[in-house]
Amino acid sequence: MILEPVTYTGGVFKHEQMVEFIEDLGGYIIQRHVIANEVVLQALVPKEDIEQMRVLAKALMGTVTASPLVGTEIAVVSPSLEIHHLPHSTCDVAEYLRRFGAKTNVVGLARGFGKRIANLNVEERDVINEHDLAVYVLGNFEECIHHKFGTLAKGIHVPIVLTGGPSKEALMKCTETPVQGYVGGLGRFMHRTKKPEEIAKLEELAAEVARVLDVRREEIAKDPLSTMPPKLMDVIVEKMEPLEEVTSPTPVTVQMTGIRVKLPYELYATQIRKLEIEDGILIGDICEVLPCRMRNYIVVRIKPYSETKIIV
């Protein structure tokens, strides 16, 4: 069963019908936002049932759009959290990627600015590595990017998409170790992205991120995971009652190879390991439950089939 990432937008009235419909099809709801009278559902739905979903959406006066980034967590790395980079361009990038269904986190480096003095500390490196992909939002000069990018990307093993003021070709030339994606003409600026050409750049970035993630999905498919992350999310949400008291918008964040559970590791890790997924298979059998570098959360990494010889 191939699951397609989609976003349903519609009214609150009778939206439960859509929720039940997705669940009956064997799909998963990754995130549900209720904003005043509007509901936004980010979901993974079986590919062959999308048309049926559209029919129901039409009856409920809602819309279904493809969101290639649903079910991914992306780090938007900014050289600092100073006015030079925030809110534009870093927040503009983070916000735009959210429109395609991604869960984005802005990672503001402590000392990522400057040409010679830029560096990445161990904590920052580990936090970035806990995501599915990192978007580096750098500045306008080739010379600076050439000098600092090597340092900022050191030890990062997740795919990187680099953005900067110089053209795509210039960016490719100035990075010694090639990265997975490049978007040129999107460097440092001090105004909100409103012009059509600026929006087009953000569209280009979203497309590049989706392309890089597709490559990653293909890699994962060669040695499939023992279970699907949304399925794991459903099990944890259903069985972990303390999650009801978590105020975060996504108490359980779905990633491509695992999930992030926003509960303290010391108190709940053992309980999570002992949860049953199906037919007596426990989470601890097919996943690694690790302490997260972001606060004291829990990261659950699903092991591949080659390690566990189990698929649930």
Binding site: K115, R116, I117, N140, F141, M190
Partner: protein, 194 residues
């Protein structure tokens, strides 16, 4: 950015210069400095690295006095100020309290301030200084250069006078003679002798 008489950004990287022109234009607009700064020349060389901004400032408006805020009418035992411009009202009330004492100042309605007391000299009252509009402008200019310049250029040297300003920043230490030569050179490019 038509309001500036001269605005140039110079850099060995042409694309970078274009971006920085846009950044500085946005910063000046955000801080409402477009009408204050008359000429601005910026030089950024990421190879050195160094950022130089030199510019001239337009003539700033003079001191705001009580007569600029409203009409003063001296009556028996009191002076009535009818407020025409509310912009500096809070400063006006503070200055009057400091000068005459708080118990003598009354504001019965939004546009009237009364100073009670015998023998108030109307002329003298009109001439009291209320606020200096140029206060904060020099600080704003340096702040604008600071946040327009590339981040990480923490070593800096700056100067502001009534007519001109300069701001030099780098990641590395800045020898004094280099700063002087650069500033002089950039001022002369704008046609302003130092």
């Amino acid at each position: 950015m038509e309001a500036l008489d001269y605005f140039q950004v110079e850099s060995p990287e042409a694309a970078g210069a274009e971006y920085y022109k846009q950044i500085m234009a946005d910063v000046l607009q955000d801080l409402d400095l477009v009408k204050i700064i008359s000429r601005l020349h910026i030089f950024v060389d990421p190879k050195v690295p160094v950022f130089v901004a030199v510019g001239t400032i337009r003539k700033l408006p003079g001191m705001v006095r009580v007569r600029d805020c409203g009409n003063v009418k001296v009556e028996e035992g009191r002076a009535v100020i009818s407020i025409g411009d509310e912009k500096y009202l809070s400063s006006l009330l503070k200055v009057l309290s400091d000068t005459y004492g708080k118990q003598r100042i009354d504001q019965p309605d939004r546009f009237t301030v009364i100073v009670t007391g015998e023998g108030i000299d109307g002329r003298e009252l009109e001439e009291i200084q209320v606020a200096d509009p140029s206060e904060g402008i020099y600080r704003d200019i340096i702040y604008a250069m600071q946040y327009g310049s590339p981040e990480g250029f923490k070593v800096r040297r700056q100067g502001v006078s009534r007519e001109r300003f300069y701001y030099v920043a780098s990641e590395d230490t800045l020898p004094e003679d280099v700063v002087e030569t650069l500033v002089k050179e950039k001022f002369s490019l704008m046609g302003v002798p130092l």
